[in-house]
């Protein structure tokens, strides 16, 4: 018997391995599987890539559409699935190789990390609104638990805050799902898209607002993102890197996937989303200037980049959408790198406060150098990958003749330069002699080096992936093709 290689494995494999965890503890396979599972998923993604680029892969389990579990892997969701697997691989490899905090290396963390990956993959792949809610809760619950895993006061506080705000978001999202079903009688996304235009106008607005609150909280958009820095500060930096690099990207993707699929004319809400994105970006960047904690500063910087991606995707033109998808990937690589350096610095010096890290650059030269590299990539300096994607977005806006986002993005980059150089200056402060308290193994740097290498590679040679992101943007924007693929040519 051969197992067919289909998209369902992206959800099924991490779920099955997570729930069989007692077996892996007994066989002493916990750590190899923690790293091996996302590696296997990444491999599967690359095996499926040629097929996905010719036509979207649709998989329906149980009954024919519109009933049944429905998964859809097109170029856009492929980018996200590959990104999720890759981000999971790097973080899990760091947790294994850094030989650090025991609470991140036991069975519970193993289960939650794999469930987070399964939930994220499910959200990206599913073609069904209710399954989207279920995967949202799977990813959410594992994220709450991961935050609280350290079980000291700050970790529990982060977990509780995350759980309360995340549950509220889920209730609002569930409310919108219920209204959609009562109005259209459908749960399949493509079938809903066909019937959505016939829902009365005020009900459409109510559904849209409920979804915006639900997904806006989860995707950390202004004004729903007041809770984010607390969570990032209370969680382990490696886990915070997963939130910033993976979870938020998935929710942003889901938000824009729904906007582009359900609405016949996405421009109507696009301008509002662009406004939210611009506000998210500017406010977060300005607040980041005065942060004294490395994790909080990175959280605000992450929010700023989320705003930038929202601005680019909300415009709904192929060039900015492709650039936005590219920037999603770049930002994930950069924030993983920065949060992993934060993990190394926090471990070495026991504190992540600006004052306590003065002179850390000489005690941990490699970590500080990688931090500088990541900072330069966030700002978008050539030849790093942030430059390539920001240039693509800016070119897209300029070609369309819209210049206010260009000005805002450049202004945001200037503010970013301000606060990152403040931190770099302190890290290389020559007047302080700082001694590392705890050792960090050499191997811990391996996942960070991989991320750094990719940041440089994508910056030097963005033409390697150009075509893929253009196809992704087309798949995301082309509503008609998706509907035809799912429902058949007649609709």
């Amino acid at each position: 018997m051969t197992l067919p290689l289909t998209p369902v494995w992206f959800v099924a494999l991490p779920l099955l391995l997570a729930f069989a965890s007692p077996l892996w503890v007994r066989l002493r396979l916990l750590m190899p599987l923690l790293v091996g599972t996302p590696a296997a998923l990444l491999l599967l993604a690359f095996v499926l890539l040629p097929e996905v680029r010719t036509a979207p892969l649709l998989e329906t389990i149980v009954i024919a559409p519109p009933l049944g579990i429905h998964l859809q892997l097109d170029s856009a969701s492929w980018i996200l699935v590959a990104l999720i697997s890759f981000a999971g691989l790097l973080t899990n490899a760091f947790i294994w190789l850094a030989d650090g905090e025991p609470y991140l290396r036991d069975r519970r963390a193993f289960v939650f990390l794999l469930l987070l990956i399964a939930g994220c993959n499910g959200m990206v792949l599913t073609g069904d609104l209710f399954n989207l809610y279920v995967f949202l809760e799977i990813a959410g619950v594992s994220a709450y638990a991961l935050s609280a895993l350290r079980r000291d006061a700050s970790a529990l506080e982060a977990g509780l805050k995350y759980l309360i705000i995340g549950s509220v978001a889920a209730v609002f999202f569930l409310f919108s799902v219920v209204l959609v079903y009562l109005q259209t009688g459908q749960l399949n996304l493509a079938a809903i898209a066909v019937g959505f235009g016939e829902i009365p106008g005020p009900m459409q607005i109510l559904i849209g607002l409920l979804m915006l609150v639900g997904l806006g909280i989860k995707a950390e958009l202004f004004p729903f993102n007041f809770w984010v820095p607390d969570i990032y500060q209370g969680s382990h930096p490696a886990v915070a890197g997963l939130y910033s690099g993976l979870l938020v990207k998935v929710f942003l993707f889901v938000l824009f996937h729904l906007v582009f699929l359900l609405l016949a004319d996405p421009k109507v809400v696009g301008i509002w989303l662009m406004g939210l994105g611009a506000a998210t970006m500017l406010i977060a960047e300005v607040v980041a200037l005065r942060q004294e904690d490395l994790r909080r500063m990175l959280a605000y910087s992450s929010l700023g980049q989320i705003g930038l991606i929202t601005l680019a995707l909300g415009f709904g033109v192929e060039a900015t959408t492709a650039g936005g998808l590219f920037h999603m990937v770049n930002h994930t690589l950069v924030k993983l790198l920065l949060f992993l350096t934060a993990a190394v610095l926090l471990r070495s010096f026991v504190s992540a406060q600006l004052a306590d890290l003065a002179g850390a650059g000489r005690a941990r030269p490699l970590a500080a150098a990688l931090f500088v590299l990541g900072a330069l990539a966030v700002m978008g300096l050539p030849p790093l990958s942030g430059f390539a994607s920001k240039l693509w977005i800016l070119k897209g806006f300029a070609e369309a003749g819209v210049f206010w986002p260009v000005a805002l993005i450049l202004l945001a980059a200037l503010i970013e330069a301000g606060y990152y150089f403040r931190w770099i200056k302190v890290l290389y402060d020559p007047s302080v002699q700082l001694q590392a308290v705890h050792p960090v193994g050499r191997l811990a740097y391996a996942p960070m080096a991989v991320a750094a290498g990719l940041i440089i590679l994508l910056g030097v040679a963005p033409f390697l992936v150009d075509a893929l992101f253009s196809e992704g943007a087309q798949a995301l924007l082309d509503r008609g093709a998706t509907l035809t693929a799912v429902l058949g040519a007649g609709s």
Partner: protein
């Protein structure tokens, strides 16, 4: 005397009104109360109101449960089974999240003696 309740429009109106009232009671509790357990209960009330709205509006008077038994052999005059299946799933998820929330709150209380969100001070703006 209560025959007017058999009119689906009246019944659905009452269900919608009741569910929305419950939803706003939950929202009020969430925004006005600072006790951890009260906030978690408020979220549970909001969730419940959404379930009630779903089940209430998806079923009309006169429809029976979508189960083939007791001489029923065909699916006629039966309620749409999808909302009920979805609500069951959502109840299970909601209970799991509530359980996790309460257990975190208990651990937090044991560790710090605090039950108030407003007094959480480990993580905040400087």
């Amino acid at each position: 005397m209560l025959a007017f309740l058999d009119d689906p429009k009246v019944l659905h109106g009452i269900y919608a009104l009741g569910a929305l009232t419950l939803f706003f009671i939950g929202l009020y509790g969430l925004l006005a109360k600072r006790h951890l357990l009260k906030m978690l209960i408020s979220i549970a009330v909001m969730e419940l109101s959404v379930y009630l709205l779903f089940i209430g509006l998806a079923t009309s008077p006169g429809e029976t449960a979508p189960i083939l038994s007791d001489g029923l052999t065909a699916f006629t005059d039966m309620a749409d089974p999808v909302p009920q299946a979805l609500t069951l799933t959502a109840i299970v998820i909601g209970l799991a999240v509530l359980g996790l929330g309460v257990s975190l709150a208990i651990q937090y209380h044991r560790l710090t003696g605090k039950v108030d969100v407003a007094s959480m001070t480990e993580l905040k703006e400087l």
